[in-house]
Amino acid sequence: MVEYPEIDKYSALDSPMHRFDPRAKIVAFIVLIFAVVLVPNLKLALIALIGAILFLIVSKLPLRFALQHIKWVFLFVVPFIVIMPFTVPGTEIFSFFGLTMTYEGLEYGILVAVRALSAVILVLPMIATSKFNVTIKALGELKMPNMLVQMFMFTYRYIFVFVVEFQRTWRAMVARGFQLKTNLYALKMIGRALGTLFVRSYERGDRVYQALRARGYTAKPKTLVEFKMRASDYVWTAVIIGFAVSLLVVPFVEVL
């Protein structure tokens, strides 16, 4: 059996986040994520980060799994911490070779990083606590355009087929002595393998469409869903959105 990099690997666990109605979960966390990326200062950003970590803990997702997913996104954030301190004008901390590190820059860099980190952490209790197909259904229920829902649905279904297909091609290459090196030849071969995968996917798309038509596909597939809001769903929605609103409102209150 192939090991798939699945986002919903731990969707079968049991936690308040797992039991949370997927529709309410998506709406509540999206509001919170927007609030988190809009927090104006570092103090609030750190509170947001603590909040995000708490939600992650409540979701009972294993730390290793969480770090695996956070790691990659964080690679994109690191440049901000490095570049910002040297590009934002303000109070000088120190300078060398004509590069000046400023206090404001450092703060801004960290602020951006903390916001991003919090947002990424929040994606996990939102997405990884339901089976992905349930999340897609919830998006459909939330009136996301049908075309997009279908794209999600088919992408989710076929990404695994393509992974297996590429693995097969790759193994066939290795079995005939191909070695991955950083030379033009290796790059060329990988390009060709990807090209083959592309052509195969195109042909498969054709066959899938035939199969869809054979079962009466009319460009607007419907699925059966059973979502029901319970009291706890309203409570969690209130807690999350309440947290989001306070993150945004608190700075104005302080000013007053």
Binding site: Y156, R207, R215, G216, Y217, T218, T223, L224
Partner: protein, 303 residues
């Protein structure tokens, strides 16, 4: 008997201009099991795709229970003709098995409880209970194959068209699938058209064979087709292993009047033979055995 499928003078040309099908004629009666055989590239899959209007021939016409396919609405066609494709990954396009099986019934415009009923029935009749919430990529090939059959059966078609249903299955899954198909045919009277290379399955799966190689070359019962040496050779077709074994036994002097095509037939044939010959059968090498074996060999050499 009522004609379920009537194909008249069907021709089809690929977009690149090469002729895929030429003047194909076929009559399939209600409740009949038909095998379509032919070498690779003979146009079998292309032909199959005409039966539910996926492809439209340049000439000729197809009737489904007397109705012209051209004039039928899409929903009407898919309700009558279910199609099981060769690669279950092409056919299982929804994220879970439940959603996939429900897909067809929903498109037929059935009510929710009716859809659920159909899904449940299809799942239990194919032994897929417990798989409802699984994703196709977590299933074995055999399970996927059964799921794609369930997805089609949930639409309750009167005609079932299958492309290589037994290909790539392990022996046990293959036997299971053959059993399921025959049960569907017996219990629900479903008409079946099976495109296949699996000659060993044909005696069990088909009442009649159409040999296709761009056009219909021959039609007949499995027995008639498998005895037609010239036809087999010209079209790179093969006969069941049991059949070959008994042909060899014949060269060794076994006097069987009716060569069996399947294991079941072999058992009853052997029993009958032993009974009539006083409790045993004789194998011996006589003066023509060697020549006959040579002749037999050359019959199956496709050079």
């Amino acid at each position: 008997m009522r004609e379920a499928i009537t194909v008249r003078n069907l021709s089809y040309r690929y977009p690149d201009g090469s002729q895929a099908l030429e003047d194909v004629n076929m009559e399939v009666y209600e409740g009949e099991r038909i095998a379509v055989v032919g070498p690779n590239g003979a146009g079998k899959t292309t032909f199959m795709l005409h039966l539910n209007g996926t492809l439209r021939g340049s000439e000729g016409q197809i009737e489904i229970f007397g109705k012209n396919l051209e004039k039928m609405k899409r929903e009407e066609i898919v309700k009558e003709v279910g199609m099981v494709f060769q690669d279950p990954d092409d056919q299982l396009f929804m994220p879970t098995i439940f959603d996939d099986i429900a897909f067809g019934p929903i498109n037929l415009g059935l009510k929710e409880d009716e859809v659920r009923e159909r899904v449940e029935k299809a799942i239990s009749s194919l032994g897929l209970s417990g798989y409802e919430d699984k994703s196709p990529h977590h299933l074995s090939f055999g399970e996927k194959k059964k799921a794609s059959l369930a997805a089609v059966m949930a639409m309750e078609p009167r005609i079932l068209v299958l492309d290589e249903p037994t290909a790539n299955l392990d022996p046990r899954s293959r036997a299971e699938l053959i059993g399921i198909l025959n049960e569907l045919n017996e219990r629900e009277g479903i008409t079946m058209v099976i495109v296949t290379h699996d000659v060993n399955a044909i005696p069990e799966l088909a009442d009649r064979i159409y040999a296709l190689n761009r056009t219909i070359i021959e039609t007949g019962t499995p027995r008639e087709i498998f005895f037609n040496g010239a036809l087999l050779k010209q079209n790179k077709l093969d006969v069941p292993d049991v059949f070959k074994v008994f042909e060899v036994l014949r060269c060794f002097g076994v006097n069987c009047e009716k060569i069996p095509l399947s294991l079941d037939e072999a058992v009853s044939g052997l029993t009958k033979m032993i009974e009539t010959e006083g409790g045993h059968i004789h194998l011996h090498i006589h003066e023509h055995t060697h020549d006959e074996i040579e002749k037999w060999r050359s019959k199956y050499e496709h050079h």
